[in-house]
């Protein structure tokens, strides 16, 4: 994706294979159309979040009331913090587990590797609703059993949401880290071992710095997905653990107000910051490995 952006950003010099004449015109027009399609709704959303009218789609002059409402509302604040806590914990855990499974799949041979490999992608392929129902069933049974056997008082809430998010985030992290590992020659690790490193040191000083951009990219992806998720979260959430997207979804049922626009803009900003960060990570990496220092 970043490569695509780079291409459009710095136009490369014309060559024989590049489109020209009317072909070029049509392609360019197509480009603008796609962008308009992407960004017009976002622009409208942002504009109407400042509109001083209860009716979405009617411009009633500029106001920041909706943002004030967002900041003042206990419920939105609580939902926001729930989202942040869940995203942080689920990202942290899924990054560690996802990276470990990527390492296992790329660097080691073990029994049942192919099955493990195929199953790891399942959460990416399964529809959200199916996953949600599975999770709901699982936690209902699982918590009942635990409560019965160990006398615990587990209820749906933070742990069930976090565990569900971890369950699908691992796949995403693992895919991203694996792509990075696949591009890294295993000779580097062998060279480290040959130079008296232990296996741990080889990982710490050679493998880890090499795959770090992949790990960070995977983490940002996991975090974005966790912050965005409505379907699965809605199924496994419990009292007091409404996340921001679930809260917004609930608001819409009671009628759309510009408050939703304001909340959406805040979420949009958060997502865009994460994407910008991931692009930055990519940039830093490229500067680190491909270019001369002191440019």
């Amino acid at each position: 994706m970043s490569r695509l952006l780079n291409k459009t950003a710095n136009k490369t010099a014309g060559s024989a294979v590049e489109p020209h004449g009317w072909t070029k015109g049509v392609l360019q027009a197509n480009g603008w159309l796609v962008y308009a399609f992407f960004y017009a709704p976002i622009l409208l959303l942002v504009i109407f979040s400042f509109s001083d009218s209860r009716n979405v789609g009617v411009w009633g002059g500029f106001t920041l009331d909706w943002y004030e409402g967002f900041v003042d509302s206990q419920q939105t604040q609580a939902a926001l913090w729930n989202s942040v806590k869940i995203a942080t914990v689920s990202t942290g855990i899924s990054v560690v587990l996802g990276t470990m499974s990527a390492l296992a799949l790329e660097r080691f041979k073990f029994r049942g590797k192919q099955v493990f490999d195929a199953l790891l992608y399942l959460p990416i392929i399964i529809p959200d609703v199916t996953m949600a129902v599975m999770m709901l069933l699982f936690f209902a049974e699982f918590f009942d059993v635990l409560n019965a056997v160990f006398g615990t008082e587990l209820r749906k809430g933070f742990s069930s949401i976090a565990l569900s998010h971890i369950a699908f985030s691992i796949s995403f992290v693992s895919v991203v880290v694996r792509a990075r590992l696949a591009g890294m020659s295993s000779h580097l690790e062998e060279a480290a071992l040959d130079l008296y490193a232990t296996r741990w040191q080889a990982f710490r000083f050679v493998t880890f710095p090499q795959i770090l951009p992949g790990i960070l990219g995977g983490a940002l992806l996991a975090m974005t997905i966790s912050l965005d998720d409505v379907v699965i979260t809605q199924f496994v959430t419990g009292p007091g653990w409404t996340t921001l997207p679930v809260y917004v979804f609930g608001l819409i049922r009671r009628g759309v107000t510009p408050l939703i626009n304001a909340v959406s803009v805040v979420m949009l900003m958060a997502s865009m910051t994460l994407v910008a960060l991931s692009l930055l990570v990519e940039r830093v990496r490229n500067v680190g490995t491909n270019q001369r220092r002191g440019f």
């Binding site: 040959d194 490193a197 490995t289």
Partner: protein, 353 residues
């Protein structure tokens, strides 16, 4: 004196593939040893077993008398220059070179000092802050060399280190590597598929094919007395004249001619007389030979090389190459000329499969 590396009955299998097939090999301390063979013959696998990156399926491997069979690579007093250098892309030249010292717990300032000295040794002075991606192929090769040498290994393993360099640079590096090895007095095990490189650089060499060790000896021994048909053909240029052993001194060629050829093979064994192009002599048919072996043929074509001419001479049953140095007054044989190819019997060797 204990051998630097002593390999006894080593076999390495990858599933059904026998990469290295029951080889015995002794490499002396301080020698430049070349491991030569065509691609896929098991050279890299052999080297990796010495390094500890691959464990033998069978057999014993000793480094300076210590059995190292399944010792991990970080516990062996050897270092490797990898085929594609395998430099750490995120570290600059200095940190690449200092890596081994750092892992061994050498203190920072000493490690830095020794790394810089080694960078000087491989003539990369001033390049220490560069990342591998900012270095040319030849310079990367030198960093890889320094990164291994700084640890003062007892044996240095090099896997086709010059394979990726262009001809001019390769020849330059050949000389430098040889000098370095002589000055340091460390054993080098040098893997190559280039027979000329092996001949010019090594003190002793081993020829491998298909996982098997065919012959070990000095370049001269191997060139002069190839152990079998494969070695004769692989090392340098040669003509293989098919025939059968008549007795310990005579071979009967395919056309029925009897030529002198010494072997201790039983009578009737199918063999080939290996006649190097530069050792055959071309003369008119009526010439009286002081040499004892001669076969009649017709010049088919001539290739002009500048310093020599290569004649393709047709015999009844095959075509051979004869190389004549381009000395002043050398006779020129036009294509179609009937000639007699003669040679000194001591200049050929008799080889079986």
């Amino acid at each position: 004196m204990t051998a630097a590396v002593e390999i006894t009955g080593i076999t390495k299998r990858f599933g059904d593939v026998v990469a290295v097939d029951n080889i015995d090999l002794t490499i002396a301390d301080g020698e430049f040893f070349a491991l030569l063979g065509p691609s896929g013959c098991g050279k890299t696998t052999t080297l990796r077993m010495i390094a500890g990156l691959e464990f033998p399926t069978q057999g014993s491997l000793k480094i300076f008398g210590d059995e190292v069979g399944t010792l991990p690579p970080n516990k062996r007093p050897v270092n490797t220059v990898f085929q594609n250098y395998a430099l750490f892309p995120h570290l600059n030249a200095l940190d690449n070179v200092a890596f081994g010292l750092k892992m061994q717990g050498v203190d920072k300032s000493t490690a830095r000092k020794r790394a810089l000295e080694t960078i000087d040794l491989v003539q990369l002075t001033g390049m220490d802050a560069r990342k591998p991606s900012e270095l040319s192929g030849g310079q990367q090769q030198r960093v890889a060399l320094a990164r291994a040498l700084v640890n003062q290994p007892k044996v240095l393993l090099l896997d086709e280190p010059l394979g990726a360099l262009d001809l001019k640079l390769r020849q330059e590096m050949q000389g430098e590597l040889k000098n370095l090895q002589q000055n340091l007095g460390v054993s080098f095990v040098f893997v190559t598929h280039d027979q000329e490189e092996a001949l010019t650089m090594s003190d002793r060499m081993a020829v491998m094919n298909d996982g098997k060790l065919l012959q070990v000896g000095s370049p001269e021994e191997i060139y002069e007395h190839p152990a079998n048909r494969f070695v004769a053909d692989f090392i340098g240029q040669t003509n293989l004249l098919e025939g059968r052993v008549l007795d310990s001194e005579t071979v009967c060629l395919a056309n029925g001619a009897h030529v002198t050829g010494t072997s201790d093979l039983p009578m009737g064994t199918e063999v080939a007389v290996s006649l190097r192009p530069e050792r055959a002599h071309l003369g008119p048919r009526d010439e009286t030979h002081s040499r004892q072996a001669a076969v009649d043929g017709v010049v088919e074509s001539v290739t002009y090389l500048g310093n020599a001419r290569v004649y393709h001479v047709r015999f009844d049953w095959m075509v051979i190459e004869v190389r004549e140095e381009n000395r002043p007054g050398a006779t020129l044989h036009e294509p179609g000329t009937p000639v007699s190819v003669s040679w000194d019997p001591s200049a050929v060797s008799v080889v079986a499969d």
